[in-house]
């Protein structure tokens, strides 16, 4: 215990020192008119994310506990939140900005809108983490609690909270990462056709790439941000996991995935593996009754109608709805859907193939694990959306504007999707029953045969889980990257995302926006029903025990 505390302190001080030195050198050597503000921007971004996190924690925790202790409440709230979760956040962000600005105009309104965006990106991870963990408290523990008369507040204190603590931390970690992910979208906002930037690291990255054409400082600062994110992750969430896991064996690892202690060599799994695995069990898809579905849809629609009412200050007439929906571009909608779906599919397939190879290699070969785990750690810490300006500047200079944007979008999607699949696959291979692995050894399965007959069937559920997550985050990325508004120019490639962004950010057409969101949600739900659920059903027949 003392030893780990010492290591922690050394890590902490070393990290701070490295951060100070890097900040100082970046500020001296990088030529950028705004570089002096870097510490201030860091503070502002951190502050924004922290506030959003605290709000999400309070909301997610209280509603999560309420939903898992009160059945009636849960029957309505859980499916409703599930619908909200399935809608890409960046889709309704334009509408949210309009509403918030309408109530509180000016910079404060913008600031609140960005906190709202971050909040919605964070809260579901915590809420569903809590609900999932509370549901999976072993029945024998619940029985014991019941028979010893542990109930009410005592139950929450002695059974519920400790049982869901790992999930709270895991959810918090995810939420925190999501906060960084959306940072640039929350700070570099297009509103009513104009770019508004809030002081912060995200807007700095965007401005230096777009306005000053200064990719050097953009890349330098991105590296710095990545280190900052990694450092904070290690100092907070990883540390907390270690603490909370005092009563159960924890897979430990050192900085950047390299084991500190030889003893842990065998158990070299990144902490995040544990994290993500905990809150995204295989049963990621929830089952609701038809009544629940209907009620939750009504609740969601009511909220949207309220939103429209807020913006328009009156209930829209049929005429207004017609006019908003039948814009000339609407005829292209099927084509847009097709384009966006192909973009997602291409990126997904690339990510899938790479992730399968990486995942299996990392789980089976130590040499590769030494490379891939740290890569995973870093890949996770890079705020993907913040790569956008840098990638775009690079690709548009080499390939030209449109094609550059196209390649940027797909590259970002791949980088974004790959880790979800990789993680789930590695964990699944690691968790394969020893006996199954030994069977392949004893009967001489090797190479492709082994992968085809032993490994792939075993990891199929994990692939499905990873794929659902990858597509979920992919929608946000695609909405973000099909449309580029740099402040100097606007460039877009045809697709559902750019259509949505244009209608939302330029035209302020809330009704069409909601219609498009409805289409996206339907695609998400249909894919779940006809692709993922089918695949999972297949795997359930021969489910392996972990």
């Amino acid at each position: 215990m003392k030893n780990s505390m010492k290591r922690y302190l050394i890590g902490f001080i070393a990290g701070i020192v490295i951060l100070i030195i890097s900040y100082a050198s970046v500020m001296t050597f990088v030529k950028n008119p705004e570089i002096v503000n870097l510490p201030y921007y860091t503070f502002r971004s951190l502050f924004r994310i922290t506030i959003a996190y605290v709000l999400s924690l309070a909301f997610g925790l209280s509603f999560g506990i309420l939903a898992s202790t009160n059945k009636k409440f849960s029957a309505i709230i859980t499916p409703t939140f599930d619908i909200f979760q399935s809608i890409p956040i960046l889709g309704y962000f334009p509408a949210a900005i309009m509403i918030i600005i309408a109530v509180i105009p000016g910079m404060i309104g913008l600031e609140l809108a960005s906190i709202f965006l971050l909040f919605t990106s964070m809260v579901w991870a915590i809420f569903f983490g809590v609900v999932g963990a509370a549901k999976s408290i072993p029945i024998n523990i619940l029985d014991a609690a019941k028979s010893y008369g542990i109930k009410g507040f005592q139950f929450i204190r002695h059974v519920m909270i400790p049982a869901i603590m790992p999930a709270i931390i895991a959810g918090s970690f995810l939420a925190w990462c999501d906060g960084w992910f959306f940072m640039i979208a929350a700070e570099y906002i297009t509103y009513a056709g104009q770019v508004q930037s809030l002081p912060g690291l995200g807007s700095f990255l965007a401005k230096s790439a777009f306005l000053y054409n200064d990719t050097t400082s953009s890349i330098t600062v991105l590296v710095l941000v990545t280190f900052l994110v990694l450092f904070i992750n290690y100092m907070t969430w990883h540390r907390l996991t270690e603490k909370v896991s005092g009563y159960a064996p924890l897979i430990k690892m050192g900085f950047f995935g390299i084991p500190v202690n030889k003893k842990f060599k065998k158990r070299r799994l990144s902490l995040q593996f544990k994290f993500r695995h905990n809150i995204f069990p295989k049963s990621i898809m929830k089952v609701y009754s038809i009544n629940q579905r209907i009620i939750s849809f009504i609740v969601v629609i009511a909220i949207f109608i309220l939103a429209i009412f807020f913006i328009m200050r009156k209930i829209p007439t049929i005429e207004v709805i017609k006019k908003s929906l039948f814009v000339p571009e609407i005829v292209n909608l099927p084509m847009y859907v097709l384009f966006t779906l192909s973009r997602l599919t291409i990126a997904y397939l690339i990510a899938l193939v790479i992730a399968i190879f990486m995942g299996i290699l990392a789980a089976e070969k130590k040499k590769f694990a030494m490379i891939f785990y740290p890569l995973y750690d870093i890949g996770q810490a890079v705020p993907i959306l913040a790569l956008f300006p840098i990638l775009f500047i690079y690709f548009s200079q080499t390939l030209g504007g449109r094609l550059g944007l196209e390649v940027t979008a797909i590259t970002m999607l791949v980088l974004d999707m790959i880790w979800y699949i990789f993680l789930n696959i590695t964990v699944a291979v690691k968790n394969m029953p020893k006996e199954t692995k030994e069977v392949s050894k004893i009967y001489g399965f090797k190479g492709i045969e082994r992968i085809r007959h032993i490994i792939l069937p075993a990891i199929l559920p994990a692939i499905v889980t990873g794929s659902i997550l990858a597509w979920g985050t992919g929608w946000n990325t695609v909405i973000f990257s099909e449309y580029m508004s740099s402040g100097k120019e606007v460039l877009s490639i045809p697709g559902l995302g750019s259509f949505l962004d244009k209608q939302g950010y330029q035209e302020g057409n809330t009704i069409l926006l909601i219609f498009l969101l409805f289409i996206i949600s339907s695609i998400v739900i249909l894919m779940e029903k006809f692709v993922w659920r089918k695949l999972l059903k297949k795997t359930e027949k021969y489910e392996l025990e972990a």
């Binding site: 024998n140 005092g246 064996p249």
Partner: protein
Amino acid sequence: MALLEVKNITKSFINSKKILVLKNISFDANEDEFLAIVGSSGCGKSTLLRIIAGVETPDSGNVLFHGKPILAPTLEITMVFQHFGLLPWKTVLENIELPLEIHGLGLRERGRRAMHFVKDVGLKDFKDTYPYGLSGGMKQRVGIARALALGPEILLMDEPFSSLDALTAETLRKEVLDIWNDKSNVTNTFIMVTHSIEEAVFMADRVLVLSARPGRIIANIKIDIPRPREKYERDKRLFKYVDEIKRLITNNIALFNKVQKII
């Protein structure tokens, strides 16, 4: 009046369709008695125990304890679980202390009591260990200590040795019998559910035999073997009882005649 009277209990579960689990179960448990309930798996014997513990409510019928119906879990009847039911985030000592704390025992007294029972089950050196660091046998010892620490009148055990290896189970069985025999303990009435007929015969004063689902009581057999039973582990009489019960459970045709003869 018997200490515990189970009267006409019927229970069914609804799981896509209604499944009748227990049908018209009636029996008594007397003070100082070691009662075993055996039956094949899925016959509802665990459900029966959970009803007695007050964790589950029957569809009809009731359980009387000192002549009063049990409606909710009571401190006078505690339970040992097949899969232990320990809280993984509490140490051995904390696991035993928690029910005492919940029921308002002061810091000193609960510490003293928990310590007493930790020693009793031979886990003094492991008192600050978390459950994951314990073997199955040790975990079950904690489960037993936790149940006894409340000083209940009746101890319920749901397949307490089923998730243990054979040798550990054997040792623990003898330990449980010693605890039951120890008259300085306030807990002297044990009711155990098991699917091991040998175990039931070896340990119990009386064995209730349950039919396959829906569970009904098909025999109520007094085990007339002197104690301590260790001496009679290879005794003919013991095997006779075992064979008898085995026949009862497996042989469906002879079932009703046997019931007539024995009761």
